[in-house]
């Protein structure tokens, strides 16, 4: 369902130097930001993500938790219900708002977990030559597994809940992160100053956290956003197959409800609005990471 991240792949091929070639007048971070802020697509996308984050945080202020039942079943959008109602007469707008919350929580929690595992293994593999073979093989092998069916299997057997979704998505998303982080970190470990740190007897942990980690930080930023955006799609897919949390609202669950009750083609508002929400978040996240990559890369930045 979710293809490998395009930008992640291209990120792996961009020169490693991004964060290191600091010109005299500006810090690299500021320079990247200046380039980023000149990219309209990136800025719009960032704004969309921020708005969604605000919606997610402020959900309780924006709408009542969609529970209960009403007599107005499957009503098209109206003043009282701007996004219409579902087959139990619940407000779809409220569902989308609360869905934003759960979808984003799952996306970022899963992404955070995956990044944690991915970065730890990636840095370790790049730094400790003896572990590299094992980690690389593990990554290659895990990347070859049919991911969605495995997610379905684990989610179905453990039982549906938000935690299950987070763990399951994270469990099958880390190899991609490890792969990218490792290749980036490898180019750093070969740099003279790491060797220098080693010769003056810095502890392994110190070298890894002080020298290697900052060098791969930009890659991590990109990975967080991309893994999260893919997690949104994975979550929606699993929920759509009936493996979502029955007690909370996510965008996938709204679509699943519409599918199950046969409203998918009949009540377009039950389908359209959550679909657009998914689309907006995933597109924005991807465009932000593309823009960030471009802004960070001196070659594309100059134009």
């Amino acid at each position: 369902m979710t293809p490998a991240a395009p930008v992640a792949a291209s990120a792996g091929t961009t020169p490693a130097a991004g964060g290191l070639l600091a010109p005299a007048d500006l810090t690299p971070g500021r320079r990247t930001w200046r380039a980023f802020s000149r990219n309209p697509l990136g800025m719009i996308s960032l704004a969309i993500i921020l708005v969604m984050a605000v919606v997610a945080i402020a959900a309780p202020l924006l709408a009542k938790f969609p529970s209960g039942y009403g007599r107005d079943i499957l009503m098209p959008p109206s003043a009282a219900h701007p996004f219409g109602t579902d087959d139990l007469g619940r407000d779809v707008l409220a569902q989308v708002i609360w869905g934003t919350r759960i979808s984003m929580i799952i996306a970022f929690a899963a992404s955070f977990l995956a990044i944690l595992i991915g970065v730890a293994l990636g840095v370790l593999a790049a730094y400790a030559k003896r572990l590299d073979g094992i980690v690389s093989t593990l990554v290659d092998v895990s990347l070859a597994l049919p991911v969605l069916p495995l997610m379905i299997l684990v989610a179905a057997l453990i039982g549906p809940s938000v935690t299950t979704l987070v763990v399951v998505i994270a469990l099958f998303s880390w190899p991609e992160v490890t792969r990218i982080v490792r290749s980036q970190a490898l180019s750093v470990t070969r740099l003279p100053y790491v060797d220098a740190a080693r010769t003056i007897g810095g502890s392994h942990f110190w070298i890894m956290t002080r020298h290697i980690l900052p060098a791969v930080a930009p890659i991590i930023v990109v990975s967080v956003v991309l893994t999260a955006s893919r997690a949104v799609l994975s979550e929606a897919g699993l929920s759509f197959l009936g493996l979502g949390d029955p007690e909370s609202w996510s965008w996938g669950k709204i679509l699943y409800n519409a599918q199950r009750s046969g409203a998918l083609t009949i009540a377009w508002w039950c389908t359209l609005f959550p679909s657009i929400a998914i689309l907006l978040l995933v597109v924005s996240a991807t465009l932000v990471s593309i823009a960030y990559n471009d802004a960070r890369n001196p070659k594309t930045r100059e134009n």
Binding site: Y69, G70, D87, L88, G159, G242, G262, A263, A267
Partner: protein, 537 residues
């Protein structure tokens, strides 16, 4: 039920006996002599899992195998049984033996005659190997003998007025000559070289896609002596929404599964499509796990029963396509058995609170919920209706200060939790067909019975059930049946919410003369219906 069937039944009467309602105009048998074979295409949402009719338990399994392995009796809309393959039946004076006469003109599609031997083989295999739910329906069975090709005699361990009709309707008969020996019948896959004694024979399978059946030449149970159409094709559409689009586009002729209300409503507006309704002989209910505290306390169960908004469930979740059974396990559809005195539990959150306070519960932290009272509600996630009313139960229970946690699972995980592991507080589900009170009360409420998920064990209730099953006349059975139902309602051993009206859709521009039968297992795709249907051009 004991019934006297006169031998004066003509073939016509046999035919019409099971007819609930013939849809469309009774066209003059327009079996056209065209070159092209007439084929009806039926949509289903799932593949056939098991071709062995004694084992398969999904709807698709039943729809396909029903067309090949006949049941001996037919069900009427009120749940009683009419002759079909069996012409006549009865019990001895002492009730310890029973007999059945069957037609003499039936054959299997490979030419082997369909005889009493097949019946003896089937019932012996089912009871010896304890296959499926049918085995549990005939606990009084001891042995069967084919005394002639058309007569079977049974020995029973005790008088059991439900034995013949349960066995007659619920057990599809399988061919002795094409099945393995008793002992391996239950594990027999029956996945090729089928033989059929029904109107059609399965000839081609493309898993995930289609199942093709061809008409067999000898099907004496319809007037024409064989099905009017030549072929039946089942096509698998996992998603009901796409399935409905296929019906509208003309790619499908019927949808076998009952339709969700929104789809039925939209299809009703299409010029070439007719939506037919069939009553359900089963009901939807909630069971409270009596093995677990605090559900072993009748006060808690009563509190739960009064915290359900029954009207909302029928009006909103079921969109009006459901009727109350007055909280009785005997639905008013079974008019002879139903107790007119029965009254539904009132939806009264205040009464619930009062009952719970009486049971010792308090709300010390003042959060609007009773402390230490949180119950899980187990249901099948993909069943839209139930998932919807589970939500309503949760919300209306909250009004009475009862916290309910929804546990929606995949079908088999759900069944395993309910049936094998008894791992639930409240179970929500449906029984598809509950037509013989004396029989199903035993199946559902005897200690350790097959579908007694709630672990009910009540000597008084069992005494009523025994009395009803041993009764030699319907009159004698009605009293204990109603007493049992009343006891179940008082003790809240079962909380029946409604019985449903199913909706089925078909292309009425092309097809007519379906015979709709009760329940979604039979509906439009029962053997008689598909043998009778005719093409309009």
């Amino acid at each position: 039920m004991i019934r006297k069937i006169t031998n004066a039944l003509t073939r016509r009467a046999v035919l019409m006996g099971g007819v609930v309602m013939a849809i469309g105009m009774a066209g003059i048998g327009a079996v056209s002599a065209q070159d092209a074979a007439t084929r009806i295409v039926i949509g289903t949402t799932a593949d056939v899992v098991n071709y062995n009719p004694l084992v398969g338990n999904s709807r698709s399994d039943t729809w396909v195998t029903n067309l090949m392995y006949p049941r001996l009796m037919q069900m009427t809309p009120a749940g009683s049984k009419d002759p079909y393959v069996a012409l006549d039946w009865g019990y001895s004076e002492d009730g310890l033996s029973a007999w059945m006469e069957i037609r003499d003109d039936m054959t299997w599609s490979d030419g082997t005659p369909f005889t009493a031997d097949d019946i003896v083989f089937t019932i012996t295999a089912v009871t010896t190997e304890k296959i499926g739910v049918t085995a549990g329906l005939i606990p009084s069975f001891v042995s069967a003998t084919a005394v002639s090709p058309t007569r079977v005699e049974f020995v029973l361990s005790r008088p059991d007025s439900t034995f013949l009709t349960n066995f007659g309707f619920w057990m599809p008969i399988v061919p002795k000559h094409a099945f393995p020996e008793i002992g391996s019948v239950g594990t027999f896959a029956n996945d090729s070289n089928w033989v059929s004694a029904g109107p059609f024979l399965l000839t081609e399978v493309e898993r995930g896609q289609r199942y093709l059946l061809k008409a067999v030449e000898n099907y004496p149970l319809v007037e024409t002596g064989r099905a009017n159409i030549d072929e039946v094709e089942f096509r698998v559409f996992p998603d009901v929404n796409a399935q409905a689009l296929a019906l509208r586009a003309g790619d499908l002729d019927i949808i076998a599964n009952a339709l969700p209300a929104p789809i039925a409503r939209t299809l009703q507006g299409q010029p070439n499509i007719t939506v037919a309704q069939a009553p359900s002989l089963g009901w939807a209910h909630m069971l409270y796990n009596l093995q677990r505290a605090p559900l072993d306390n009748v006060l808690v169960r009563r509190a739960l029963a009064h915290a359900v908004d029954y009207d909302a469930i029928r009006g909103i979740a079921m969109q009006g396509l459901a009727e109350s059974t007055n909280s009785s396990v005997i639905s008013p559809v079974l008019s002879y058995w139903a107790d007119p005195e029965a009254k539904e539990y009132a939806f009264d959150p205040e009464l619930s609170k009062q009952l719970l306070t009486e049971a010792g519960y308090t709300d010390a932290d003042g959060d609007g919920f009773f402390d230490n009272l949180s119950l899980s509600l187990l249901y099948e996630q993909s069943a839209a209706d139930i998932a919807n009313w589970a939500q309503i139960v949760k919300d209306s229970s909250a009004q009475a200060g009862i916290r309910i946690e929804l546990v929606g699972l995949e079908r088999n995980t759900y069944l395993a939790r309910a049936r094998e592991q008894k791992d639930f507080d409240i179970y929500a589900g449906t029984w598809a067909v509950m037509e013989e009170p004396a029989a199903y009360l035993g199946l559902a409420f005897r200690t350790g019975a097959f579908i007694n998920y709630a672990s009910v064990s009540d000597p008084q209730l069992e005494a009523y059930i025994n009395e009803a099953q041993a009764a030699t006349s319907p009159e004698a059975a009605r009293v204990p049946v109603q007493a049992a139902a009343k006891l179940i309602q008082d003790q809240v051993y079962d909380n029946v919410l409604y019985y449903q009206t199913f909706q089925f859709a078909y292309n009425s521009e092309r097809w007519e003369n379906f015979v709709i039968q009760p329940s979604d297992l039979l509906s439009l795709v029962n053997p008689l219906s598909l043998a009778s249907v005719t093409s309009k051009n």
